[in-house]
């Protein structure tokens, strides 16, 4: 039972950066903008998050620095794609290249430094409940924050007028514009939200996961976050399933190896990707079927004045 608890704790930690970044990207894409720069925003968030925490000694300051860095980088993307109507795919890819380089530059000064990892919560009474206590009340705050964020996004998208307008901008920007909604401003906020979440997801790595900064430490998690949005068919609920499923299979395959079950490790390493694809395909088949992508995703919008 102790092992099970340890596994679940590892899964929560492994899934959190993916969930944070993917939630932001989901909102961005729902507004009709495809930002492929998630990896770049995450790694810059990691570098700045670590820098902030290292200089101030505070995880909270680090998290704020990560969020700010991701947002700033997303503003470059917004300027290019919304302001100058440049191709979104090319700009997003360039943003990742920029971010990877920039993070190395920012992080050069503190490679090899250590910080105290984000504290784990301890609520007297609740955290000490056997089995579920540490899982529900004993992880670092980011884990619960990421879940609250998804719930918040779900409420916003499906239960508020603003959310409805954002989805309208993503499905048909011409109509939304004709109805008098400020499409570009909506998209700007969505892109910034995506940047903030990616920055926070990136910052989670050096602040809580492995408390040091190394260039390239996101190791492709931004791309996985992007893929999760597609697999979740742009729905927040499925995003949680996807992220935790991916995290669970990632951790379980490591444990299966340590038990030496004799399954080739190459297959085990591919398993998280395989399992995520299969399960999410099954879910989307069973419910609605067909494409659920925002209709205007990735298209440039220039309002006629």
């Amino acid at each position: 039972m102790e092992l099970l608890e340890a596994i679940i704790l590892s899964v929560l930690a492994a899934s959190t950066p993916l969930l944070l970044a993917a939630t932001g990207e989901l909102v961005t894409e729902r507004s009709g903008v495809l930002n492929l720069g998630v990896e770049g925003m995450m790694i810059v968030g990691a570098a700045c998050g670590f820098g902030g925490a290292w200089l101030s000694g505070s995880t909270t300051v680090g998290a704020i620095c990560g969020i700010a860095a991701g947002t700033l980088l997303s503003l470059i993307f917004a300027l290019m794609t919304l302001g100058l109507a440049v191709n979104q795919v090319a700009t997003g890819l360039a943003l990742t290249i920029l971010g990877v380089g920039l993070s190395g530059l920012i992080g050069a000064g503190f490679v090899g430094e250590r910080i105290t990892p984000a504290p784990h919560l301890h609520i007297p009474g609740l955290t000490d409940i056997p089995l579920v206590g540490r899982i529900l009340f004993g992880e670092d705050a980011f884990v619960y924050l990421s879940l609250a964020l998804v719930i918040g996004v779900w409420l916003f998208l499906y239960r508020t007028r603003a959310g409805l307008v954002l989805r309208a901008a993503g499905d048909n920007h011409v109509s939304a514009h004709a109805l008098g909604y400020p499409v570009l401003r909506i998209r700007l906020f969505a892109v910034m939200f995506g940047g903030a979440c990616a920055g926070l997801g990136g910052a989670y790595l050096p602040l809580a996961y492995t408390p040091f900064f190394i260039p390239g430490m996101t190791a492709g998690r931004g791309w996985i976050a992007l893929a999760l949005v597609v697999f979740a068919s742009w729905r927040p609920g499925r995003l949680v399933i996807g992220a935790y499923l991916f995290g669970a299979v990632t951790i379980l395959q490591l444990h299966a190896q340590a038990f030496s079950l004799g399954i080739p490790s190459q297959f085990m390493s591919a398993l998280p990707y395989l399992a995520t694809v299969i399960v999410l395909v099954l879910i989307s088949r069973a419910r609605t079927g067909g494409s659920t992508a925002p209709a205007a995703l990735g298209t440039v919008f220039v309002p006629d004045r």
């Binding site: 092992l3 590892s10 890819l93 190791a219 492709g220 791309w223 444990h255 390493s269």
Partner: protein, 359 residues
């Protein structure tokens, strides 16, 4: 997608390098291909340290360029060729997976000299160099065997290639000399560098009862997890004691600088010829970090073993070597396995309850 990006980055860096290099035609240009980022604090970092030693040694006589984050595979060939086109005359390709790409480019450009790390294919303009890291692993095995209370070691491996398998075997052979019942749990990360995954692997090994962690991946993540849990670990490739002052027992440090200086000197003197160097503790290509966080008797044991290996009195793969199936391995090197057998090692020794992936 990532590969395209990395290739694009590499091409841009190479293009920039070729532009800036046009004015310095008389300098010897030396190029490097790195697997990870120079700040990985492991494998690539040590090559970068050696490159900086070159710059310090030769100053204005040479000009060095490096491409980092070059993935093993088709991208490597393009990157190596970019370095050739940029005018580099001596090129170090610093990972096993660059072997075939390097050979291909070497055949195409017979005037350029190549040095490939840790492989087994060479040519008249392509030399090989490698460290006998297994000597250090054997010492670590002895320390681990002594220090593990549970009698279970956790081993984070990268890819099932002979280099990694010989390291696992050397560790177990060393550990068996002090604890015949030692067990090892092995996790293949299938990557050289992913701090998050390395940390996850370390957590999984500790959760399953291992209390000494060893790794053949490049970041200090595992060391840091062991430190958090109050367990012990070995560093990898470089000094990692910063990440676990009360955790690191020792670390195998790759010391490439003397070799690089030697080869660049030969190139400058016009005396470069192809070679095949496999240097160990004796030639100081492999160096052990200070033995820390262990009692004096274990420390002495480690130092005595190191001295015996340097003196040529002790061979980690001394015969008889018995494989997992109980079969005694043919002994081609007299009283120990010969280099060819070690370099092509594709079996586990007796005492490892696991299977090599894909076998």
């Amino acid at each position: 997608m990532r590969k395209i990006l990395i290739a694009a980055t590499a091409v841009m860096i190479a293009a920039a390098a070729s532009l800036s290099g046009a004015s310095a035609a008389d300098k010897l240009k030396v190029g490097f291909i790195y697997l990870g980022p120079v700040g990985d604090f492991g494998w690539t970092y040590q090559h970068e340290v050696a490159r900086q030693a070159l710059v310090k040694e030769f100053g204005d006589k040479i000009e060095t360029t490096y491409l980092e984050n070059v993935s093993e595979g088709p991208d490597a060939e393009r990157s190596i060729e970019q370095l050739v086109r940029a005018g580099n005359k001596l090129i170090f390709t610093t990972s096993f997976g660059y072997m075939d790409p390097t050979l291909k480019v070497a055949k195409k450009y017979p005037d350029v000299h190549f040095e490939h790390a840790t492989g087994f294919k060479s040519d008249k303009n392509m030399g090989i160099y490698n460290g006998r890291f297994y000597e250090g692993r054997y010492i670590q095995g002895i320390i681990a065997g002594k220090m593990s209370k549970a009698g279970v070691l956790g081993y984070i491996a990268s890819f099932p290639i002979p280099e990694v398998i010989m390291g696992i075997n050397a560790t177990i052979l060393g550990a068996q000399t002090v604890n015949p019942n030692i067990k090892v749990k092995i996790i293949w990360a299938n990557t050289w560098f992913d701090p998050g995954k390395e940390a996850d692997a370390a957590k999984a090994l500790l959760d399953q009862g291992a209390d000494v962690i060893m790794q053949h991946t490049d970041s200090p993540a595992a060391m840091q997890i062991a430190s958090e849990r109050g367990k012990l670990a070995f560093g990898q490739d470089s000094e990692m004691i910063k990440f676990g002052p009360k955790t690191q027992l020792t670390s195998i440090i790759d010391n490439w600088a003397p070799y690089y200086i030697d080869r660049v000197k030969a190139e400058l003197d016009g005396k470069w010829t192809t070679d095949n160097v496999w240097g160990g503790l004796k030639s100081k290509m492999v160096v052990m970090a200070p033995y820390t966080n262990m009692p004096d008797d274990v420390k002495k044991m480690a130092m005595d073993t190191e001295a015996a290996i340097i003196a040529g009195k002790l061979f980690p793969f001394k015969c008889p070597i018995v494989d997992q199936t109980g079969k005694t391995v043919e002994c081609k090197g007299g009283d120990h396995l010969d280099d060819g057998q070690v370099l092509g090692m594709n079996f586990y020794v007796k005492g490892i309850d696991d299977k090599i992936p894909g076998k």
